[in-house]
């Protein structure tokens, strides 16, 4: 494999920046959607950016030790690496060096970083939050992994650019959502949980465990977690689009797709209360898993 250093360097810098910008808009969209549903006006356009800048500009910054700071670096680094490995129109050099499995496991690195940092804060609310977040991960990853297995079976590859190419060759009929609707549905539900949105929102739980992982986060620490939220929305939507919606032919359709994908859970989240932890696990292991298994068998039968 020949390394085109120049191109790679551009990807390395441009992709995270793009992801951050798109993510900021997604956050804004989510907040506006919420405001609209609650018959409010909602925040101004630049609000997500102002929040982050304000947090970074705080005069005092509380640190609970080196691990607290390193973990934020790991979190940001993992997120940036994740964006780089996503296949988006025009940028897929790095996507060829890994595959869907690599990406799924890379997605856990920032989570792990955050978990370590939160634990280093020595606040039990944070630890409980992390315990719940990991529990939620155990819950939503089961249906999600089944859908990934189904996609790998259907396309015969785990390479993300390949998957996009296969879908785009066949047009709309080739889309994963058309070929395997059950799996697409299961993945959509797990995505809701992956983003930590109601009814699967168990680990922030402000009224219960004081925002869990964010309890002791202040200033730029909290700001970095806001950045992480932008990246997370972007990553999950791009992954879903890649597996089920034919990826992006060009940036216009690509952006439409990913915003639609994010809009669905962001809308749903406002009309649900929260489940209890064990209820989340039970529900996710029951319905989406069953749907995904049926979908997997359908795929395997073909």
């Amino acid at each position: 494999m020949d390394f085109d250093w120049q191109h790679m360097l551009i990807e390395l810098l441009v992709m995270p920046t793009l992801a951050f910008v798109v993510g900021l808009v997604m956050v804004l969209m989510a907040r506006r959607l919420r405001a609209r549903i609650e018959r409010r006006v909602g925040p101004p356009f630049w609000q997500p950016l102002w929040d982050i800048l304000k947090l970074y500009s705080k005069r005092t910054q509380v640190s609970h030790g080196h691990m607290h700071e390193i973990s934020i670096i790991v979190l940001l680094g993992g997120m940036i690496a994740m964006e780089v490995f996503l296949p988006v129109p025009g940028f897929d050099t790095f996507a060829h060096h890994g595959d869907a499995l690599t990406l799924i496991y890379l997605m856990m690195v920032p989570t792990l970083g955050m978990a370590l940092g939160v634990s280093a804060c020595a606040n039990p609310n944070g630890s409980i939050g992390i315990a719940r977040a990991l529990t939620a991960m155990l819950a939503y990853d089961v249906p999600f992994i089944i859908t990934v297995a189904g996609a790998a079976m259907l396309y015969g590859t785990t390479s993300l650019p390949e998957i996009i190419a296969i879908q785009q060759q066949q047009g709309l009929e080739g889309w994963g959502a058309v070929q395997m609707p059950l799996l697409a549905l299961a993945a959509l539900i797990s995505m809701q949980a992956m983003l930590g949105k109601e009814p699967f929102e168990i680990y922030v739980a402000p009224a219960e465990i004081a925002t869990g992982p964010m309890t002791e986060m202040s200033g730029k620490f909290l700001g970095s977690m806001f950045i992480m939220q932008c990246f997370q929305l972007y990553t999950v939507s791009v992954l879903y689009t890649t597996l089920f919606l034919g990826g992006g032919e060009n940036w216009a359709t690509f952006l439409i797709k990913i915003f639609v994908v994010v809009a669905i859970p962001m809308t749903l989240t406002n009309i649900f209360p929260r489940y209890k932890t064990e209820a989340v696990v039970a529900w996710l292991w029951k319905w989406p898993t069953a749907i995904a298994l049926v979908g997997l068998f359908v795929v395997m039968m073909r």
């Binding site: 907040r31 405001a35 609650e38 018959r39 409010r40 006006v41 909602g42 925040p43 101004p44 630049w46 609000q47 102002w50 929040d51 800048l53 304000k54 500009s57 705080k58 005069r59 005092t60 910054q61 509380v62 402000p206 004081a210 925002t211 964010m214 309890t215 002791e216 986060m217 202040s218 200033g219 909290l222």
Partner: protein, 247 residues
Amino acid sequence: MNQQNFPVQVAPLESCREPGPEERSMLRKVLDRVGQYCQSRSLFVLHYCTGCGAIELPPSMTSRFDLERVGMQPMVTPRQADILLITGYLSVKTLKRVILTYEQMQSPKYVMGFGSCTINGGMYWNSYATVKRLGDYIPVDTYIAGCMPRPEAIQQGFLDLIERIDGGRAVAWKDYYRNYDRYLGHQQHLFGRDWLTPTDVVGEAAHYRLAGDGTLGPHTALLDQYAGYHQAWGVPREQYAELEASS
């Protein structure tokens, strides 16, 4: 009480003072200005809702008045918050929590006294257990008078605060660092000589160059005397055992 000394590390005061405007670089000034603007556009509020006034907050936040329009959001822990909103009277007991919460917030931070109780004790003026003037204990940026104030008043108060932050005039939090000894004196007067919080205001003042003439004084000296009891960090175990036994 034990008489051992556990000195709080304080750097020489000169290097702990805030540099004047003329000492700051151009870039610094631009960044500070951007920061100020963002701080005024994004305010996370921590509601300290012990009093009856809290009932007026939901209308302010929800669809009727929607404070999110001006970038305000409720937040849960003091670490995340910019504004500490004290709604109503404070008893001596709750004041301790308020002070701890205030000290755990990250600067720049703002305090809003909400209702007459925080200004002069209000209808509880005669009570032996309530605090009359919040401003004696922590620096307050804005008072909203009334018993109780309407959402419109709250909104006005916030807008006023936003304007002052944007203009760089909401600097009451610096006063707490610069005249910490005075605030601590009031606190000690109320809670006793051995009053301590697990936070380290003097250290922060030194670290962030926020110290002033009134940072250290007779009252902070008392802190040194009692610090060891709560903060066993760095205390040799046998000493700690002694402390445990003596308490």
